[in-house]
Symmetry: C2
Subunit: 475 residues, 2 copies
């Protein structure tokens, strides 16, 4: 009893949207269902790695094309009716149509099922001047088109000083890329240490690494304004350009270019206006099958809310790996198969120069905010047996429930071989293991890869002792 | 109601024995118990890294002392009554005594509780000549004293050609060390590919790496004899030395030195003769607290059997990391605390030149032998995003239960960044996750560390498809 021809409209052509589109077609074909997929992308590229943009800016990746996993042409060959450079500007759930606009014109498209994959947009400081765009030298780093604009600006020769507003993952990665380009780089942020998602003591190690590579790191400062200066060339007026960023305490940070590194907010305007319910995080609420609460409307990727498996809360965790998985799940279900997205534990990783940083689960602050009483422990070890010449330092911090000993979160900071150890902790957190169980894990040991007690296990051993001590104390 | 003074005798001074000794003292002290610990070690070192010996042989580690985690003096300062160079030669369970022998003499020692940590000894081919010792140029690689003898022999200048019998972990590591020393090295083994604990298709990649570094790898050959030749120097007779290894098919492998790389067998003579029950693997049977079935007798480390969490079988997995954990567990329990060793999943890792190899759980053959019907899948990916300059190849193979989809085992072979990915699979196997669950895991993603789908997740995705296909087929 296959239904008649059904039309799916996908809004957004990056990871989530195009994974949904291709999976839906594939699953439908396998089941002999007649499915039509129309996808809208307002930009100039599909299925690209936004996370790779900092490496393109820094010259590690040679060209824009290398960041594209699948081109519009490839998607079309697989049967997607893809409309590039076309923005969806309206959604009518009752009429089952989207309204679109492109350089060539505008129109509407009918759908039976809709996939919202509208992504996210850079968070901007709520202060005068920060609504300026790339022509003024103010750049987000979300899309390939953002990346192109940023690189063109850096290549123009008029930029010597860069201010990155926000010390998050993308902010630090772009800061490093700009240092590699020989620029003077300032990172200004509200918190005391970079990467607000790790504890301050671990963040201090990151701050040290950031400063060590020559970045001017300004912490504990709120930006309060962006100053523009008129520009001209050969008597001809040009758009005004950034001249400085000002902070609440009175600092003036002169610059020729500003990067928005405050993270992103989900792009939910379309959903909100159409009445598609949002979740507690402000992103589109979805169930485990990636269905929204509006009939026949699905959502995936950076515009959606995900369930945090430890806190149980709805959170917004924009990341390519989730977007890919969610798009796949939405597509499989749309095409007649069955798949679920079981949530996240908040795993993240980055690299600042030679320092690798990973985190998973809840930080101390997040755990307390979620209602847990915790013990935290940190240990210093090495990435290989201590006697091997390649031994590099690594610090592992764990956050555990004081009563049950459940591992709630973990953080690692260290050199080569440190970062990806966070995966072990991520899987332990995922499985709600206790630190006592974790310390017994059968992790791989050989001198070039780990000490006889892997740093992860040493940390768990110390955490188990702390849980035991807390248990005795609280009786 | 602390009991009166109690005496613990520990037989064996490496990882397991000394971890037990120091934990027992520590736990007893914390509880105000009066505990005396006497430890016997027949060799010249305590608490050393046997796994580090190949790196010492290859010159990567500069000296014997670097492999020692804690010296006899350090143990004595912590209160262990340590008898070095003293072998325990008899055990009387009824009289509660051990008999010992040293260069200085012999005697007996009484105990209330006993810890067997006698380790393992190299497996020797059951063929003429292989009972020869270091003076003939036939070397095991189990103890630091073995390492000293091997290095002295290699340093003597009389060795140009080495034959390693057995292509297991230690065999390959020593082979590489000998190549680094500029020697001609042959590895001869019975199986078709090295490392019998990985599937043949993965083993083929390892064989390629082994040959690529200049080792003469002879597979599918059973050794049938070791030929000795008389030696003399300046008219003085010296002990006979190895001249060649012969194989059943008639190959003659000329050599000046032989390394026993066939793995080890548990050193259980003492236990067996005293009537301490052994398990199905031939090693000493213990419960989760590391108690043997003989009253007041504990055991830990390479002489003991461990429970394989996937097959449920008692297996012998001699490895420093298990020895340390088991010694800790025995010691905590002896000292009045409580800890358990919950078994292993057979995780192992090694490195052959630039190729990293990891395995966990059951291989295809092991899974079938344990009664499972399995699907196996292998995928090729990269250790970082494919577009990053540091992207290295990695192949991941999974073994899953055909019906339930439970992940039974995993294997990885690849370059830098590949090997330690086995930890993720090890924890999945430990938690009996299905491949469908594994593919959804929140593993760390950023371009310098992984593709947007980590190789582990790609492998799980493919395995989940294979399970689904098998399910449809078997209906």
């Amino acid at each position: 009893m296959a239904p008649g021809r059904s039309r799916v409209v996908v809004v957004g052509g990056d990871a989530a949207g195009m994974a949904a589109a291709s999976q839906a077609l594939q699953q439908a074909a396998a089941r002999g269902r007649d499915l039509e997929v129309v996808a809208f992308e307002r930009g100039s590229a599909t299925s690209y790695s936004a996370c790779g943009i900092p490496y393109w800016v820094g010259g590690v990746v040679g060209s824009r094309d290398e960041l594209i996993a699948r081109t519009p042409e490839e998607h079309r060959r697989r049967g997607v009716d893809l409309r590039m450079g076309t923005e969806v500007v309206g959604l009518d759930l009752a009429a089952r149509t989207v309204a679109w606009r492109s350089r060539e014109g505008e129109g509407t498209e009918a759908f039976d099922e809709l996939v919202l994959a509208t992504g996210a947009v850079p968070r901007r400081p709520d202060a005068p001047g920060f609504d300026a765009g790339p022509e003024a030298g103010v750049h987000g780093v979300q899309t390939l088109d953002d990346g192109s604009a940023l690189i063109a600006d850096l290549d123009s020769g008029r930029v010597r000083r860069v201010v990155v507003v926000g010390g998050g993952y993308i902010g630090l990665e772009v800061a490093e890329a700009c240092v590699v380009r020989g620029l003077h780089v300032t990172v200004v942020q509200r918190g005391d240490t970079p990467l607000g998602t790790v504890d301050d003591d671990m963040g201090a190690l990151i701050a040290e690494a950031v400063r060590g590579e020559g970045v001017h790191l300004v912490t504990g400062e709120e930006v309060c304004g962006l100053e523009l200066a008129p520009a001209s060339e050969g008597g001809r007026d040009l758009p005004a350009r950034v001249r400085a960023v000002h902070t609440a305490s009175g600092l003036e940070l002169p610059c020729d270019l500003v990067v928005l590194g405050l993270g992103v907010v989900p792009a939910v305007a379309l959903a909100r206006e159409a009445g598609v319910p949002l979740g507690e995080s402000g992103a589109v609420a979805v169930d485990v099958a990636q269905r929204t609460r509006a009939d026949g409307v699905w959502a995936a990727g950076d515009c959606t809310e995900v369930r945090h498996r430890v806190s149980g809360r709805g959170v917004h965790v924009p990341l390519g790996t989730h977007a890919n998985k969610q798009g796949r799940v939405a597509g499989i279900n749309l095409g007649g198969g069955y798949a679920t997205f079981p949530g996240v534990v908040g795993t993240a990783i980055t690299k600042v120069c030679r320092v690798e940083i990973g985190r998973t689960g809840l930080s101390t602050e997040e755990a307390r905010a979620a209602g847990f009483q915790v013990v935290t422990t940190a240990v210093d070890s090495t990435t290989t047996a201590g006697y091997m010449p390649g031994a590099e330092p690594v610090r592992v911090k764990l956050v555990a429930d004081e009563r049950s000993g459940q591992l709630l979160g973990g953080q690692v900071v260290g050199r080569s071989g440190a970062g990806k150890r966070i995966d072990a902790l991520a899987i332990c957190v995922w499985n709600a293991m206790t630190v006592e169980e974790v310390l017994s894990l059968d992790l791989a040991y050989a001198p070039p890869f780990a000490p006889v007690w892997d740093p992860v296990l040493i940390a768990a051993r110390k955490a188990a002792q702390a849980v035991e001590a807390a248990c005795r104390r609280d009786g």
